[in-house]
């Protein structure tokens, strides 16, 4: 009788130790699930944030979807792995058997403890297992209390922080961070890619131009609407996806699109491309010699704050894209650039053109304003503001990364002194065309 009680006590101790092992294994399994899931979620969020900062909307959307799918799949796999690691008593005994080299003693005792077999060797098995209990103490079977998976979220955090710091270091663009996004932009209509305004976007720009340019703008807008109507559904879906991705990027990066200051857009007459102004979409700004791609990106960056106060309060430096009709712009009251000593006179503007990095436009834009109707006779003076009207312009930057919170690259203003062989550009004096040459000139310009 007493021997039976002793055997039961030994059996209870063996089972208790198996239970302790099971508890420890399950604790580690829970930690594994928790830490690994945390690492995956942090990693996914970090990747999406980095993509929102650094990539254009469509690429961002693609990356975000891929990362989301990956995170979901990884989470499912982690749950399954954690469930596999979780131990029922049988598995805990099997693990202890394996790690303590007990050759199935624990698993056998556990399996038959409820209904011990009528074997004469059962007491021997219990006693034998009990004498080996030092080998299957929980601390020996599983010495760890904390799962090694705790390093996973820490490593992910460190990596993401390092990448963010590196990006911040590389993005220290002095021109942009000092001045903030521009509020006044002068653009060449020929360099603008115009598309119908999204009704969901409020009008946030005032356009100033001479009547001819405005008419060209109207024509171009009509053409854009016509093209937009003829676009296939995939293109429309791409546009919607782009807009969705853009708004998602805004949300991810914490931007507030409503805080964008209104843009004063000063349009100049379109340079007539060889195929005609309305013969197709406007050439990309980066394709023209001397034009930086951003020179035609007139959409103001949607991150006006960006942690950098604008120089001079709300007044942002105007951007000239490319100024080729300075006297027209002067008539429209082009404000001078802050810090610029020019007085706004045509001569000053011409000087600014030379110094602003767009000097090469002078040669390439010589045909701008070559409207046959304007060729003959003196240009009519336009009263200030008389022909300005407000319209919504959906001007897309060529570098789409700029709309996703990443500031567009704005070349620093550099003034290069002219050498002795150079003269500042001056507007050509208008003169009347000789009568005999008029049919020829008219035929050439109407071609």
């Amino acid at each position: 009788m007493a021997e039976n009680r002793r055997e039961e006590q030994k059996l209870w101790l063996i089972l208790f130790q198996i239970k302790a092992i099971r508890t420890r294994l399950n604790l580690l399994a829970i930690q594994f699930w928790l830490f690994t899931t945390l690492a995956v979620l942090i990693g996914a969020a970090g990747l999406i944030y980095l993509a929102a900062i650094a990539l254009n909307p469509l690429l961002f959307l693609t990356i975000a979807i891929l990362v989301g799918i990956f995170a979901l799949a990884a989470t499912v796999r982690i749950v399954r792995a954690a469930l596999r690691q979780a131990a029922n008593p049988g598995r805990a005994a099997a693990v202890a058997d394996h790690r303590a080299d007990l050759k199935g003693r624990l698993a056998t005792v556990l399996a038959l403890a409820e209904a011990p077999p009528a074997s004469s060797l059962w007491p021997y098995l219990v006693e034998d297992t009990y004498t080996l209990r030092h080998k299957f103490e929980p601390s020996k079977v599983e010495p760890r209390w904390v799962s090694r998976s705790i390093f996973a979220p820490a490593a992910v955090l460190v990596m993401i922080t390092a990448v963010l710091l590196a990006m911040k270091y590389h993005r220290s663009d002095p021109a942009f961070t000092a001045d903030g996004p521009p509020t006044e932009v002068t653009a060449d209509l020929g360099n603008l890619e115009i598309s119908p305004a999204d009704p969901s976007h409020p009008a946030n720009a005032r356009v100033y131009a001479d009547p001819a340019t405005l008419r060209q703008l109207e024509a171009k807008l009509a053409q854009a609407e016509k093209e937009d109507a003829s676009r296939n559904s995939i293109a429309r879906w791409m546009n919607k996806a782009r807009q969705l991705a853009g708004s998602l990027q805004d949300q991810v990066t914490g931007q507030t699109p409503g805080a964008i200051p209104p843009l004063a857009l000063k349009l100049q007459g379109a340079k007539t491309p060889p195929g005609g102004a309305d013969s197709g979409p406007a050439p990309r700004a980066g394709d023209q010699a001397g034009n930086h791609p951003d020179s035609a990106s007139i959409m103001p960056p949607e991150n006006p704050g960006d942690g950098v106060p604008a120089a001079g309060g709300d007044q942002r430096p105007p951007i000239t894209i490319p100024p080729e009709d300075p006297d027209r712009l002067a008539q429209n009251g082009l404000p001078s650039m802050p810090g610029d000593n020019s007085t706004g006179s045509p001569e000053d503007l011409g000087g600014a053109k030379v110094g602003s990095g767009y000097a090469s436009e002078a040669g390439s834009n010589h045909s701008a304003g070559a409207d046959p109707e304007h060729l003959f006779g003196a240009p009519t003076a336009e009263p200030l503001g008389s022909d300005s009207f407000k319209l919504s312009v959906d001007a897309r930057p060529i570098d789409e990364a700029s709309s996703g919170g990443a500031p567009a690259y704005l070349p620093p203003k550099v003034r290069v002194p002219l050498n002795s062989q150079q003269w500042p550009d001056e507007p050509l004096a208008r003169t009347s065309v000789p009568f005999d040459d008029r049919p020829t000139v008219k035929r050439v310009f109407e071609r």
Binding site: K103, G104, A107, T108, A111, L112, W122, Y124, L125, D128
Partner: protein, 353 residues
Amino acid sequence: MSDPELGNGLAAQTTVTVADFARIFRRIQSEIHKAIVGHEQAIEELLSALFAGGHVLIEGVPGTGKTTLVKSLGQALNLSFNRVQFTVDLMPADITGTRVILSGADGRREFSFQPGPIFCHILLGDEINRATPKTQSALLEAMAERQVTAGGVTYPLAPPYFVMATLNPIEMEGTYPLPEAQLDRFLFKVRLGYPGEEELVRIISATTGAPESPVEPVFAAVEAAGAIEQLKRLVREVIVAPRIEHYAARLVRATQPENSRVLGDLHSPIKVDAVTRYVSFGSSPRGAQALILGAKVRALLDGRANIAYEDIDRVAPAALEHRIMLNYAAHTDNVDAARIVEEAVKAVQAARR
């Protein structure tokens, strides 16, 4: 000269401990090794089959010590031992015994049963595949039922009854391969290969010089049978967990081409391609019995009262190889049963993790 500390008095003991079993087993092994050089695994499997209560089929080329092994075993166990050389003209009555007319002192004549060589504790059937199937099948009843029926009278065979049959894998002309039913009655099939160089040197020195110390019996003659029976009962007492029984069952099913999808502990199906491709008939349920019984002996030898997975894996080749019938594709591709068992064990091992 039996060992008083080991075999003597064992039959009188009420209980035999696990330590006793291992000690006696090792002692018998060492005695046999006085006559046999090498073949450690073969000797262990032979003794395992003896204590598991089964019979052994020994396959080996001539001169590898098959007969010497069996003789030394009989000497070590101090049990009655007979040897029958199977030939093509051997008749069943030549081994089971026959009724003969005997004249009594009063002149009366009566039939009397004269037991054949099958009546012993240890029977060696040498080159059993040279006898006709009729003679081979005469062993069936003796092996399975441990009794012999002659002239309508059944004669029990004294326990322990242990049959060891040898097969010569070469010189197959004029032989009669054992039928599957008879093969299945052997618990283990033990292979005796050629000895290595060191072993061969020891064989040369041991057999061409002065005779070395002879094999000494481990048990006293009167107690030997009882002691061995007690050890056999101890083997039956070894505890088997249900998962081990399932493991053995899965392993046996893995050798059957129609059941070669093995269900593991995680219920993940595993297909044994080699079985599907090369096996005509897999192991019978006797294979599972052989696995468990052999594993029980292994557990006792390791000082355990329970079977582990490793015990099953260890005895699987000896227990299953001769129960697997290969098809022509296996012969064409030079695939043997050993490889089939190996693949099945691997598949079941993977499924148990």
